[in-house]
């Protein structure tokens, strides 16, 4: 029996090690998720239309300036907010610190378009703030200067406020788990907190910072709600307009291609930044860092610095929504409960599917990086592609499959299957997987980096491979990574709008769809309740997520 085995290996031994079923499955799953994007990109190769030169002549330059400017602005904004608060929470002690540690995540529950809607309403010329200023000082128009909220700068501010938690989450973890020895060495060498921050903490946290900013930038690039509400022309609104306004798939696909290139550049930059430093703090036995105790004025300053992002990114908009809802005094729609259940069920299903696929891909990546990496990286690009582009790609893909199934069924059974996939919840779940694979993969990968390769090697020499490694070693050790990934995907799906809108089945509403329809119809009081429900439903997973920080993690390394 053993002889036979050896002989078989004699023919294919070398390949068996790298190209096993797992790596193929992982690559295949990634490929499936990229397929909708490819369907769209093939559109770019279609016949040239005279709309494209027109776009180049008129609006393209503006799209580039706005898109790149907002992306950089959001990267900078989220970096400042995220790193600043992460440092305070991880390295300093002040009253309310433990509360802020989780409260700082809350803005993630607020969809960007809702925040933009609220701030646009509050801060525009006719809004309560400017009205109060005019009434208070007796000013009229042109007597005073007030920053225009519906502007690229306003978009940067709003997006930074709701997206900084990505940076905060990742960098805070990096600060908290970084080697206490390193920080303490810095302190013993007589370095003040600022110097340590600049010369030690930031360089060590750079991979986390890069990952967080990349997530924020990708979300910014695919944003349609904020740009639309603020009247800013970006690649994404341009795609929207060329495609759905003008029906020119070719021009839209070209814009999408340019956007995809930008996305790939962002991903490349992120990988570069990550690669520069290879330091695994878990390799030495890290203890919690001893924090700086802040007193007096400094502790007040720290409280203000943490309260501002939470207040502006979460508390204030949520309060305004509550106020709108109460002021309108509208009765709650009886269908509302059903919508809530739809949304929760959808988010739950999408979370299981997405995290499952991400786990598979990341596992394949671990088994055979050389083969799986290119697939995995491109599959993650779906996160930065506007949901509506993904949705239309999926429509195309599903109809291809459906038509194939239908004609096969006609040939075999004499009756068609019609549209089996299109307009089903399954397709919606698939769309979420395409969109949010990157989010869950990022969380799982950073968790994976903490599992030393020697554990895999140990398991293999004990004869356990590869399913055993996944189920008996990785899954138990990845629990916190899986929880993070699941919480993030859940919240993202709750907020997702364009793909849901296009792909959903008949008579199927979600909170985001309802909030959007009401807001688009400018019935803000009716939009407030579903928007609040999105925020509320997102809070639960986020609070679970924040609990991670308070629980001591199992060290993936035995003491030496």
């Amino acid at each position: 029996m053993r002889l036979a085995r050896i002989r078989r290996l004699g023919h294919a031994g070398r390949r068996i090690r790298s190209l096993n079923g797992w790596t193929w499955t992982a690559s295949g799953a990634s490929l499936l998720l990229v397929a909708p994007l490819l369907v769209v990109l093939f559109g770019a190769a279609g016949p040239a239309n005279d709309l494209w030169p027109h776009l180049v002549d008129t609006v393209l330059a503006g799209y580039v300036v706005n898109t790149v400017g907002i992306a950089f602005g959001v990267a900078a904004g989220t970096a400042v907010l995220g790193v600043g608060t992460a440092w305070l929470i991880a390295m300093c002690d002040f009253p309310g610190r433990s509360m802020f540690a989780w409260a700082l995540i809350l803005p993630l529950a607020l969809p960007g378009y809702v925040a933009a809607f609220v701030y646009g309403d509050l801060l525009e010329f006719a809004g309560p703030v400017q009205t109060a200023l005019r009434d208070g000082f007796g000013w009229v128009k042109d007597d005073y200067w007030f920053p225009a909220v519906r502007s690229p700068l306003g978009a940067i501010a709003v997006l930074s406020l709701v997206l900084y938690p990505y940076v905060y989450l990742l960098v805070q973890t990096a600060f908290a788990t970084q080697s206490a020895t390193l920080i303490e060495t810095g302190r013993l060498l007589g370095r003040g907190p600022l110097t340590i921050f600049r010369t030690l903490a930031i360089p060590l946290a750079r991979p986390a910072l890069a990952a967080g900013c990349a997530l924020a930038v990708m979300e910014t690039l695919n944003d349609i709600g904020v740009a639309e509400l603020f009247g800013i022309g970006t690649f994404t609104t341009g795609i929207y307009r060329a495609w759905f306004g003008l029906g020119d798939v070719g021009a839209a696909a070209r814009l999408a291609t340019v956007l995809l290139l930008v996305v790939l550049a962002v991903l490349w930059a992120e990988r570069r930044l990550r690669r520069t430093i290879r330091y695994h703090p878990e390799n030495d036995r890290s203890r919690p860092v001893s924090r700086y105790a802040l007193r007096g004025r400094r502790s007040v300053l720290a409280i203000v610095c943490c309260a501002l992002p939470v207040g502006l990114g979460f508390a204030l908009p949520a309060a305004v929504l509550i106020w709108w809802h109460v002021r309108a005094g509208a009765p709650v729609d009886p269908a509302f409960v059903g919508i809530v259940f739809n949304t929760l069920g959808l988010a739950l299903g999408a979370t299981v599917l997405t995290v499952g696929i991400a786990g598979l891909v990341v596992f394949g990546l671990r088994l055979d990086p050389a083969i799986v990496r290119p697939f995995a990286r491109t599959a993650g690009a779906g996160y930065a592609i506007p949901g509506v582009v993904v949705a239309v790609g999926i429509l195309g893909l599903c109809s291809l499959l459906d038509h194939a199934l239908d004609s096969a069924s006609h040939a075999m059974f004499g009756t068609g299957t019609g549209l089996l996939l299109s307009g089903s919840v399954a397709v919606l779940l698939f769309a979420y997987a395409v969109r949010f694979l990157a989010v869950s993969m990022n969380a799982l990968e950073s968790s994976y980096h903490r599992i030393p390769g020697s554990l895999d090697a140990a398991a293999r020499t004990l004869g356990v491979f590869p399913r055993g490694i996944l189920l008996r070693v990785h899954v138990p050790l990845l629990r916190s990574g899986v929880a993070t990934a699941a919480a993030l995907v859940f919240v993202e799906v709750m907020k997702e709008l364009p793909a849901t809108l296009i792909l959903r089945p008949f008579d199927f509403n979600t909170l985001a769809v309802r909030a959007f329809e009401m807001a688009d119809e400018e019935r803000i009081a009716d939009a407030a309740l579903p928007a609040l429900a999105i925020v509320a439903a997102g809070l639960l997973p986020l609070i679970v997520l924040s609990r991670r920080f308070r629980q001591p993690q199992i060290r993936a390394e035995a003491p030496s």
């Binding site: 090697a457 293999r460 491979f465």
Partner: protein, 350 residues
């Protein structure tokens, strides 16, 4: 299951290349080890010791050569058996215990099939073998370094491997614990009848516990032999220096011998006038009748003392290891004699 020929581990002409550049990490390595024997690989960091172990385990792809265990080819130019089918156990430098499993579950990890009860009792039995019966329920992070290593050993033994590889299992432990652990480990390994290949830094441990020693440097095996063979007949200057402390000086060969302040040392086969290197073991300089030398510092090491001596009329400083109670006083004059069996001359450039 295995065929009757228990020929142990045979490594022939093995080479492994770095995946990032095309550098050879190890090249043309020959090695064999028998069942029930502990083969100890010594050498400086970067010598390729760990790479060799990983190649035998199958975690590292090989570039050339072959690895055969009991006549079964694990790897050669055509075959590469994956690690999980090699029946090769490995204990890692940091123990690599699964942090979410308690000691007993770690040990039982590789046990497939059978009732849970049977696996548990087998794990308990193995823990007893490594004298850790009491820690079965404890999680790895509550174990001491030595305990963790012994659990790792028990875990690797559980699958009854044909070959056991141990990668610096005792590094980072304090000396007393290290010696005890090394003794216990080698005892368990010999009892198990497996082929044991161990990588370690400490030459004293190697001499004390190994059946045979393999000296590695720069990716190749320089010498393979019993501790005595390597100590008494080192193949080159490096092998001479690795098992113990030596005095080394550049010298010139005159008529098949080298002159030293303590008398001539034979240098057979070396050309007249060629440059050579003289190595004298510190314990090869004996107090007694012989060349007069002045004593510099005297450092006590316990039973032994290291004495700094300068033969009269010479600039060179030598170190001698002498019994502590016979150590001379600093500043005194003593007679020094050379034990010719502990002095070696090697040509330069080897």
């Amino acid at each position: 299951m295995t065929s009757g020929t228990r020929r142990g581990l045979e490594v022939r002409g093995l080479s492994v290349r770095s995946q990032t550049d095309d550098r050879n990490l190890i090249a043309d390595v020959f090695l064999d080890a028998r069942h029930g024997e502990v083969l100890w690989i010594v050498g400086p960091s970067g010598a390729g010791k760990t790479t060799l172990l990983r190649a035998i385990a199958g975690i590292e792809h090989i570039h050339g050569g072959s690895i055969v265990v009991d006549g079964r080819v694990l790897a050669n130019s055509a075959v590469e058996v994956p690690p999980e089918e090699r029946r090769v156990g490995m204990v890692f430098q940091n123990a690599a215990l699964f942090p979410h499993l308690n000691a007993a579950d770690n040990v039982a990890f590789g046990l497939n099939g059978g009732a849970r009860l049977a696996r548990t009792s087998r794990a308990q039995e193995l823990l007893e073998r490594v004298e850790l019966a009491g820690v079965a329920d404890r999680l790895p992070h509550t174990l001491s370094g030595g305990e963790a290593q012994r659990v790792a050993l028990a875990r690797a033994l559980a699958t009854d491997p044909d070959v056991m590889l141990l990668d610096e299992p005792f590094s980072g432990l304090d000396p007393q614990l290290r010696t005890d652990l090394a003794a216990a480990t080698c005892r368990v390994l010999r009892e198990s009848g497996t082929v044991a290949v161990l990588v370690g830094h400490n030459p004293e441990d190697a001499m004390r516990f190994a059946d045979r020693i393999s000296v590695m440097q720069g990716g190749t095996v320089l010498q393979l032999g019993t501790p005595h063979e390597i100590y008494a007949h080192p193949a080159n200057a490096f092998c001479a220096g690795i098992l113990g402390h030596v005095n080394r000086f550049p010298v010139q060969v005159h008529r098949g011998r080298v002159e030293t302040p303590f008398g001539p040392v034979e240098a057979p086969g070396l050309a007249d006038g060629s440059a050579a290197e003289l190595l004298i073991r510190e314990e090869g300089l004996l107090l007694g009748e012989g060349t007069l030398a002045s004593v510099g510092s005297v450092r006590l090491l316990g039973a032994l003392a290291v004495v700094e001596i300068r033969p009269s009329g010479e600039e060179m400083i030598f170190h001698a290891r002498v019994p502590a109670d016979a150590a001379p006083a600093p500043g005194s004059e003593v007679g020094i004699r050379l034990d010719p069996a502990r002095a070696f001359v090697f040509p330069v450039g080897r």
